[in-house]
């Protein structure tokens, strides 16, 4: 190796080392910025000396008071409401979404393209508008306010068929020759689905269950509209939101933090546990849209 090329080589190496160091600094900074709010929320949930918002993070006095106090509020009720909603939605929505996406991916029928286009156009309407009428109808059925949970499940599940994109993208990647081989052997379409496609679809099933389960924990608009004013029918998002309104925040700020931690921890753990499937779903299906 000649001397100049040696120098160039070492120069390259040095510049790579510098750029890598910069990237490490950047990544550490990003990690801190992304984690700091959650770090703060956890710390403040243990603050005992005051219940309102303060300009410092580390509590002067530590304790579990905020967590204990949660149980004398409606929080457990909200938690149960949300949990029931999430479980039911996860199960029913998965069935509906998979039916829809499987059909649109695997079958070729006359109305397929018009149907997909129709749903695309339908999705351009702000869905929020429909809650005015849905609220009145659900109210007539007695599924609002204190009984909001079943009403909410119904609303979430009923129109979930429109979110078929990601799982359709997944089904598109399973080779069609598998179906055809089974059909030649005399299997019905239903048997093809049950015996061949479903066993291959574990990742997308888990992805759909996971996203459907996580949705209700964060939903705010519909839940608030349908449970309007009745604490017994609220979900965690609506209940905790009300603790941060100007007349409540001084009394309940630290309790909001502890409530937030209790909601976030199980959901996050479940998510991290199933992270692999989520990443697969997002990178595989979301882009094809």
């Amino acid at each position: 190796m000649s001397e100049t090329s040696m120098k160039r080589h070492m120069g390259l190496r040095a510049s790579r080392a510098i750029s890598n160091t910069l990237i490490y600094v950047l990544l550490i900074a990003i990690s801190i910025i992304w984690l700091i709010p959650f770090f703060c929320i956890v710390l403040q949930s243990f603050r005992v000396e005051s219940t309102w918002q303060v300009g410092y993070v580390i509590p002067k006095q530590w304790g579990f008071d905020n967590y204990v106090n949660l149980f004398s509020t409606d929080f457990p009720r909200w938690y149960v409401n949300t949990f029931i909603t999430a479980v039911c939605t996860a199960l029913l929505q998965t069935v509906i979404v998979l039916c829809m996406s499987y059909t649109l991916s695997r079958f070729r029928f006359k109305m397929r393209k018009p149907l997909m286009r129709f749903m695309l156009i339908l999705g351009m309407f702000p869905g929020m508008l429909t809650m005015i009428i849905l609220y009145r109808v659900l109210k007539d059925l007695g599924l609002t306010q204190a009984n909001a949970t079943p009403g909410l499940i119904l609303v979430y599940v009923a129109s979930s068929g429109m979110g078929y994109y990601v799982s359709k993208g997944f089904f598109d990647t399973i080779p069609k020759s598998l179906d055809e081989a089974a059909r030649v052997d005399g299997a019905t379409r239903f048997q093809v689905l049950k015996k061949i496609i479903l066993p291959l679809s574990k990742p997308i099933v888990i992805y759909t269950v996971l996203t459907a389960f996580m949705g209700p924990w964060g939903d705010f608009v519909f839940a608030r509209y349908i449970s309007f004013g009745a604490s017994a029918g609220m979900n965690v998002a609506v209940g905790l939101y009300n603790w941060l309104t100007p007349d409540q925040i001084n009394k309940n700020y630290t309790m909001f933090c502890s409530g937030g931690v209790l909601v976030a921890v199980p959901v996050t753990l479940l998510f991290l546990f199933l992270q692999k499937y989520y990443v697969e779903g997002v990178t595989g299906g979301a882009v094809k849209g």
Partner: protein, 511 residues
Amino acid sequence: MKAYSDLEFLRLNKWQKMLYKLGRFFSSIPKGVAQLFIKLWGLIKNVFLAIGREAKDIVSTFIHGDWKTKVSYLVMGFGCLARGQILRGLLFLLFEIVFIGYMILAGAYWLSMMPSLGKVGPSEVYDEIFDTYVTTYNDNSFKILLYSVLTIFFIIAFIYTWRINIRQNKIAEKILASGKKLKSAKDDLRSVVDDQFHKTLLALPLTGIIVFTVLPIFFMVLVAFTNYDGAHDGYASNLFTWVGLDNFNTMLSWSSAGGTQSYAATFGEILAWTLIWAFFATFTNYFLGMFVAMAINKKGINLKKLWRTILVMTIAIPQFISLLYVSKMFAKDGIVNGFLMGMGWIDKALPFWEDATWARITVIVVNIWIGIPYLMLIATGILMNIPADLYESARIDGANPWQQYTKITLPYMLFITGPYLLTSFTGNMNNFNVIYLLTGGAPTNPAASSASGSVGYTDLLITWLFKITTGAESKYYLASVVGILVFIVVALISLIVYNVLPSIKNEEDFQ
């Protein structure tokens, strides 16, 4: 604009090339829009042609059909029953009976009330025995509108089924004429899980979508042409009725009342901010997310999994917690201001949510914090698919990292994520959660407050719609008008992008 040949194009310098491309882009918009209308016209024409074909077929089936077929025009399923397809025949017949029964018992009444939406409102009658006024409720505009819409949907379903019934007869005649046997009930049942399996699978999801999305949207579009609001709820207070295009006139008129802005001005301001927001929210996330993904993917960076997991974790935490908390962090007495003042860097709290410009920028910045992890995941998936030898050969040709990025990475990403960018743009236009949970639309715009609800500088059309609905006057009709306008804007943007983009894309392809 004049189109250059490839050779002429190559002779231009960098700036001329860019200008040329920009010019081509904008000059192709009118063509794209024109093509759009041609396509729409073609669509409408096709619908009418199809209806014409159907009508012709119905008539010719009647003329050429045997008596069983002819009776089926009146008694649905008669042909099937007469030819031994009992199950099908009974289903058709049952549907017809239910339909006629419904129309006689209820449907006709609702349809007859539809033009007026109710004649007699609630009335107060003096009750002598109890010495009080008793309110009696009479017509209910809301129910009338709802059930007449349902009836219309039912009639459409009936016509469709009737058409199928006729086609069945035609097919059955043909099969019998060729000497084959008709399908038995057992065959029909088997087809539910076989030939017709797609219909079985779609039945449930589509019913849900029709009942809980299509019907409500249809209903709400109609509401835009009524005066349905808190004071005219159609039952307890006053009936509501059709007002034609009045609400659209209100929304789009520039005349203002009481020293405050007109609706059109408010709408224009909010629309402008909505578009600015959607643009920045989409592209800041897109490029920064891609950048973070590239940083993590870079050769020689360790602990890739850890960095990714930290970011991905933040997706899992329900947005209302993180958004509400971050919103309070930036409050006047929040942690951020507390920290900055504690360090002695500022001596007065920064107006993160109090000043219009500050609030708008803060919203966009916080949205980056929300959006990057998701974009990072998407970008990682795509970046890993770019063939490594592309970079290899670029390096051998002496391309620096920036050139590699603009010539390989970016075009590849844009090519794959084009549709995603569009959906993410329109999704951001309707990004209710981020705005509502962070600012609630604040700071308030005093000039615009005449429009229902208090409109703020960070309000998007969608949060405005929500405020109109939940505001003191609950002007549902106005919310509905805003909703329709949002739809028109989103649809126009999507259509233009879909129609214009491919021509641009093809130009990029050969580079």
